[in-house]
């Protein structure tokens, strides 16, 4: 095993992180530079994303559950709309909703409830006790989950479009890209915030997770234009990133559809997503700091073995 290093870094070249770790005085080991702190947080992000990405390749059964089953769900609505002879635009709305719902499910199941699960596994204490920011862990979870969700979303989109012959009429590709990225940042910002809150609420987290799926699907207009819900739809656009992101994407993918009237234009919805990203990310940081303070004060949030 390694030996301690007599260098102090004073009056000579600055110590590398490895030299600092093996310094001959704990006060030197503990004295990190801003760069070392930032690098550690970045490494922690990659480290936490690693099990998710590894899991994707190690257990490919998820391909069936994450692609085939959602495709069936989407197909059911497509067939119903066609049986009712609804306008063909509805098929496109359903396909787009089915694809984007992958990200919402990932946020709810693999982010919001995740810290609570980490606690029950005994991981959370180790996260708290490590010298990284807990935000890195949350971002790592998001990044890892994003890989799986993106695959599911792309597969559902492509397969459904091919099978049901959906014609997207995108005129502003750059805006589609911007809205998509902003939707993800707002969604995962909300996910990080919810992870802290779910941890705080303990057992109720499970019920909250359920509440966050079907009701949110409904008010966000997963399978129909959210504008049809009137004031409820507008409230959803103002508060739920999935609702506003989905509506903006639909408007950009089907710019000539009259069925999408009644909601703000995509440019405005992009701005709403920017605000949501800032608010949710800041709230997540605040919640995480508060949760840690409460955990240390009450001894009730992270302690598993006592």
């Amino acid at each position: 095993m390694s030996a301690r290093n007599a260098r102090t870094g004073q009056g000579s070249a600055p110590l590398t992180p490895a030299e600092r770790r093996l310094a001959s005085d704990p006060r030197i080991t503990a004295d990190w530079t801003t760069r070392q702190t930032a690098e550690t947080n970045l490494r922690a992000l990659v480290g936490r994303a690693y099990p998710r990405v590894r899991g994707m390749f190690r257990e490919p059964s998820w391909l069936f559950f994450e692609i085939f089953l959602p495709f069936l769900g989407t197909s059911a609505y497509v067939l119903v709309y066609r049986a009712l002879k609804a306008p063909e635009d509805y098929v496109g709305f359903v396909v787009l909703g089915g694809a984007l719902s992958a990200f919402w499910l990932n946020v709810v199941w693999s982010m919001a409830g995740q810290l609570y699960w980490e606690k029950s596994q005994g991981n959370l204490e180790l996260y708290f006790a490590a010298p990284m920011s807990l935000m890195s862990v949350l971002l790592g979870m998001a990044a890892g989950g994003l890989a799986m969700s993106s695959t599911r979303a792309a597969a559902v989109l492509v397969i459904s479009a091919l099978v049901y012959g959906v014609q997207f009429q995108i005129l502003q590709w750059w805006l589609v890209a911007v809205v998509f990225v902003l939707t993800l940042t707002a969604l995962y910002g909300l996910g990080m915030m919810m992870a802290s809150l779910f941890l705080l609420w303990g057992r109720e987290a499970w019920h909250l997770t359920n509440v966050m799926v079907e009701p949110v699907y409904f008010v966000s207009g997963l399978n129909f234009p959210v504008g049809r819900l009137g004031a409820v739809g507008m409230a959803a656009i103002a508060t739920i990133p999935f609702a506003v992101g989905l509506d903006a994407m639909r408007q950009l993918a089907f710019p000539h559809s009259v069925l999408l009237a009644g909601t703000p234009p995509p440019e405005v919805e992009a701005l709403i997503l920017v605000v949501m990203t800032v608010v949710f990310t800041a709230a997540a940081r605040w919640c995480m700091a508060t949760i840690e303070r409460m955990a240390r004060s009450r001894g009730s949030l992270s302690i598993r073995w006592q």
Partner: protein, 366 residues
């Protein structure tokens, strides 16, 4: 305050605790887990905390590892305050608990350790190299590519030990590290910790354990803790000298109505406690007796005959840490007390929700 141990220059005390108090605000009434603890551990020391469940050992470790705030008093790790300098402390310490199930079952041992190395900021290649070295050090070369979910309890604990050493900590907190392990696996863990500590001066270990023999073997000094207070501190030899003037007997009977407490009430009996090394499936009852003088033994034998207990064996023994413990605490570790650890609120009945959550998590891997 500083202290020099084994190094060329002086280092701050590894642990400095003054008037530490921790109260859990639980219903129906608050539980005092630590009640004015004072403690100093020098750099490079192997220090043990010995006490029954609910003594406050784990609470003390939680505070020292920055996971819990004290209600009053102060605690410092190598000069850093646990309440205000948490980041600095987390950069120089690590912790391992017995029965720990941390990590993700879907990863291999090597991958799991590398993931944790990233949390401590080790470079990517440096992390892999360190992981490989530690896997060899803990004797898990054959399991390095095995999934964590398939490891035995002993293998898992070895892996946890490797995790605890990833960042070359200045201070390592071990909370019952050999809990539930068989004799061979426990010995392996003890040898590993001793070898790691001996390799570099200044490495400090704080160990909590139920096992007297383990504390005796590993620790340079031991604090005996009960009901949130430190009852005695000293080297194992110093502690044993406290009972050297007493007469110590090991008594085996077929049954003992009223338990050891019935014997403890007899004249001349300092303490009587169930032996902690009694096998769980043993038919007979083994009791460690501490008497003021040998003559008190007659009263014990008469009393046992009076309640119909048959003596299987009776022998005089040298003082052990267990005798010291029983004399100070008033009962043995094997005795059931009313001192279950204070559980924080909202910990009960989490399993159902956790199981649901786990069912949706791709990382658990069975």
């Amino acid at each position: 305050m500083t202290s020099a141990t084994g190094g060329a220059h002086s280092l701050p005390l590894a642990i400095e605790v003054v008037g530490l108090r921790r109260v859990y605000d639980v219903k129906p009434k608050a539980v005092v887990a630590l009640d004015g603890v004072d403690l100093e551990v020098a750099p490079g020391e192997f220090f043990g905390l010995l006490g029954p469940n609910g003594a406050g050992k784990t609470t003390l470790i939680k505070i020292l590892t920055t996971l819990l705030l004290p209600s009053a008093g102060s605690a410092r790790i190598f000069g850093f305050d646990v309440a205000t300098e948490t980041r600095r402390i987390r950069r120089i310490m690590n912790m391992v608990a017995g029965g720990e199930q941390s990590g993700y079952g879907i990863l291999t041992v090597r991958e799991q350790l590398w993931m944790f190395s990233q949390f401590y900021g080790l470079g990517t290649r440096e992390g892999w190299a360190r992981v490989d070295a530690l896997i060899e050090a803990v004797g898990m070369g054959d399991q390095r590519l095995q999934r964590v979910s398939t490891l035995s309890t002993g293998q898992r604990q070895k892996m946890n030990m490797a995790r605890g050493l990833l960042n070359d900590p200045w201070i390592l907190f071990l909370d019952e590290p050999t809990l539930g392990l068989d004799v061979s696996a426990a010995r392996g863990i003890r040898e590993l910790v001793l070898a790691w500590k001996a390799a570099i001066p200044g490495r400090t270990v704080l160990l909590t354990t139920h096992y007297m023999a383990e504390a005796d073997e590993l620790c340079e000094r031991i604090a005996i803790v009960d009901r949130g207070r430190i009852l005695a501190i000293g080297t194992p030899a110093e502690l044993k000298r406290r009972v050297q003037r007493d007469s110590i007997f090991r008594l085996e009977v077929d049954r003992l109505d009223g338990g050891p407490a019935a014997l403890a009430r007899l004249p001349g009996v300092v303490s009587a406690a169930l032996a902690s090394d009694t096998a769980p499936d043993a038919q007979d009852v083994t009791v460690n007796l501490v008497l003021r003088e040998d003559a008190a033994l007659g009263g014990v034998v008469t009393a046992l005959a009076g309640v119909g207990s048959q003596i299987r064996s009776l022998g005089k023994s040298e003082p052990t840490l267990e005798d010291v413990f029983v004399k100070l605490v008033g009962r043995g570790l094997a005795d059931n007390g009313d001192d279950d650890a204070p559980m924080p609120p909202s910990e009960a009945d989490e399993d159902v929700a956790a199981a649901h959550a786990q069912a949706h998590d791709p990382e658990t891997g069975g």
